[in-house]
């Protein structure tokens, strides 16, 4: 942890970074995002496997973008989502420097998109075992059981939109939920409106989500919404090949096509 703080202070000192987004501990010993602008504050930085927040979502925030030169202390999932965002032509107006700790515990500093791509491909994360187990359990269920499962879960949703707020891929200026001509998604948190919202969100993230799991982890109502996009990811990888957040060229599966795409369900 010491080298991370020293490197961060150095980056802030020599001006390669105006604002560094990292983790620190709050009163309750919880790991929370922190925003450091001066080298002196760098000693509060902390980084370990428990740092799960996907900090790349802050790169869309106006107050953060104003700093232009931004440092990001990131786990591999965050790096993968930055790579996916770069492949979607986002964030190119920022000069980003990434600080991460690799499997062997050494501090790694990535200064360019190419270095980022190489690092992510070398340490490409796989689906977390507990998620895979839940996915298999759900896929093993009958349709009625799955309907009952999601009906019970989605009736808990209060439409606080925290899942949309923490997702780096959800950066639309006006979200479908905020459109009221026509009213695509009901504003009130009734179960049918929640179904519409989560179906729409899963469809808009299919082929883009990098499965960092943040939406399910932070949901106040404890709904595993990350399973929806995780399932979509796995099916689209089998069906269309290619992985999300794998390369700068990206290639969003839903806006290309192959003549040989799956067709057995079309009469």
């Amino acid at each position: 942890m010491k080298e991370l703080q020293i490197k961060a202070a150095e980056l802030l000192e020599n001006g390669t970074v105006n604002l560094l987004i990292g983790f620190c501990e709050d009163l309750g010993k919880r790991l929370v995002p922190c925003f450091i602008e001066t080298a002196a504050e760098a000693n509060i930085l902390v980084f370990n496997q428990e740092c799960k927040n996907n900090l790349s979502v802050y790169l869309h925030k106006k107050e953060v973008k104003d700093a232009v030169k931004i440092g990001l202390v990131a786990n591999v999932a965050t790096l993968r989502s930055v790579l996916q965002l770069l492949s979607e032509n986002q964030l190119w107006s920022l000069t980003l420097t990434y600080l991460t700790v690799n499997g062997a515990g050494e501090l790694v500093v990535l200064r360019s998109a190419e270095e980022l791509e190489a690092y992510v491909q070398a340490n490409f994360p796989t689906c977390r075992p507990e998620d895979q187990e839940m996915l298999d359990k759900l896929n093993a269920m009958s349709r009625e059981e799955r309907w009952a499962f999601w009906k019970d879960q989605l009736s808990e949703c209060v439409k606080c939109y925290a899942c949309r707020a923490v997702c780096p891929m959800c950066y639309c200026t006006v979200c479908t939920t905020e459109c009221n001509q026509p009213q695509w998604i009901k504003t009130s948190a009734q179960t049918s409106g929640n179904f519409e919202y989560h179906t729409m969100r899963a469809m808009h993230l299919a082929g883009r989500c990098i499965n960092c799991g943040e939406c399910g982890r932070i949901c106040p109502a404890g709904i595993p919404v990350h399973l929806l996009t995780a399932q979509m990811n796995q099916e689209m990888e089998q069906e269309f090949g290619g992985k999300t957040g794998w390369s700068l060229k990206g290639g969003y599966a839903m806006n290309t096509f192959k003549p040989g795409d799956k067709e057995n369900f079309i009469k």
Binding site: D26, L27, G28, K29, R30, V32, P33, C34, F35, N53, V57, Y58, K61, K62, E63, V64, E156, V158, K159, C160, Y161, A162, R164, A165, V166, E178, K186, T187, S188, A189, Q190, E214, I218, P220, A221, G222, I223, P224
Partner: protein, 335 residues
């Protein structure tokens, strides 16, 4: 105010008795996600007992996340039949909420009924009885002692139970509480006042209300707001989990011929909250929205209703994706 005792084993008998009497009992239930929620229960067995705080507050019983204001239906004469369903609200007992939640109900009562009384809230509140459980343990997010409350506070609750080894010390505060007790008075034996101190949690006290009340006067212009709200994503989680957040939106659902008008939760943190149809947004950045939330709770509601509307339950800290800390922010902007 009456003081009673009830043995721990009789609690299950008491609650099941309420259920048999046709009352709806809403109590904390441990869900598969490991979080505890207020749900209607069918028996005492479902009630969770080992928890510090529920994920969402119990305000949903008197201020539901979606509430039908009325249904409308075109009739033959070309007019509309408009019907509200205020008469169909069941007798409800909220079991096992914490003293900070009960203080939250006290604020909701002031907010909704003091001026322009809200008929829907009144209908639900009159039919609700609050049975509060004082806290024997707390965590770093609890700060009720900093907002003029404490883990054994009786404010707002009809009955306050304090667990003491194998029995519960029962403080019956209101008439509604008496009715509940008398529905099964055999289980209770009267007692004189006992000291609860030994059985209560000891949350840290970060500041006092008098200290904050005068320092908040010029906090609006503080430069700390930007740093305090940097971690904020502008979602509604803190407002929807909060026992005293009362903002709502009114939406119509249905066609021009028939449908319903519903009232649903809204949050000042959401970016569309104050947006005009012309596109002008008085609170455009996240810093202003976070400032509005804290200034409303610690200054504006004091000026309007004479009481700080934060009860120190710490839900907004636990539920926030980046654990923004309301009492740390208040301390930093009132330095």
């Amino acid at each position: 105010m009456e003081l009673k005792l009830i043995s721990s084993s009789d609690i299950a008998v008491f609650v099941d008795g309420l259920l048999k009497a046709g009352k709806v009992v809403v109590a904390p239930v441990l869900k598969q996600s490991g979080k505890v929620f207020f749900k209607p229960v069918q028996s005492f067995a479902e009630v969770a007992t080992d928890y510090i705080q529920t994920a969402f507050s119990a305000k949903e019983v008197v201020f539901p996340k979606v509430e039908e204001l009325f249904t409308y239906q075109h009739n033959e004469e070309g007019g509309l039949d408009i019907k509200d369903h205020l008469d169909r609200i069941p007798e409800t007992v909220v079991w096992g909420l914490r003293p900070c939640d009960a203080a939250g109900f006290d604020y909701l009562n002031k907010f909704f009924l003091q001026e322009n009384p809200d008929a829907y809230f009144k209908a639900r509140y009159d039919k609700t009885t609050l049975v509060t459980m004082s806290c024997n343990k707390c965590d770093a997010s609890c700060f009720c002692t900093s907002v003029d409350s404490h883990p054994g506070d009786t404010k707002g609750s009809d009955i306050l139970l304090t667990a003491m080894d194998d029995k519960f010390y029962v403080e019956v505060m209101t008439e509604k509480g008496n009715i509940l007790i008398n529905s099964n008075s055999a289980l209770f034996t009267s007692t004189d006042t006992l000291s609860k101190e030994a059985f209560l949690a000891k949350p840290l006290t970060h500041f006092s209300m008098d200290e904050i009340k005068d320092k908040i006067q010029n906090a609006y212009a503080s430069v700390e707001w930007k740093q305090a709200s940097m971690g904020c994503f502008s979602c509604g989680a803190c407002a929807f989990a909060c026992p005293t957040c009362t903002c709502f939106d009114i939406q119509d659902e249905g066609t021009q011929d028939h449908g319903k008008r519903v009232r649903c939760w809204d949050a000042c943190g959401l970016s569309q909250f104050t947006k005009h149809s012309s596109g002008h947004n008085p609170r455009n950045t996240q810093t202003e929205r976070r400032r509005q939330r804290l200034m409303h709770k610690f200054k504006y509601s004091v000026e309007n209703l004479g009481v700080v509307s934060c009860v120190g339950c710490g839900r907004c800290i636990r539920v926030c994706p980046s654990h923004l800390n309301i009492f740390e922010n208040i301390q930093s902007v009132t330095k």
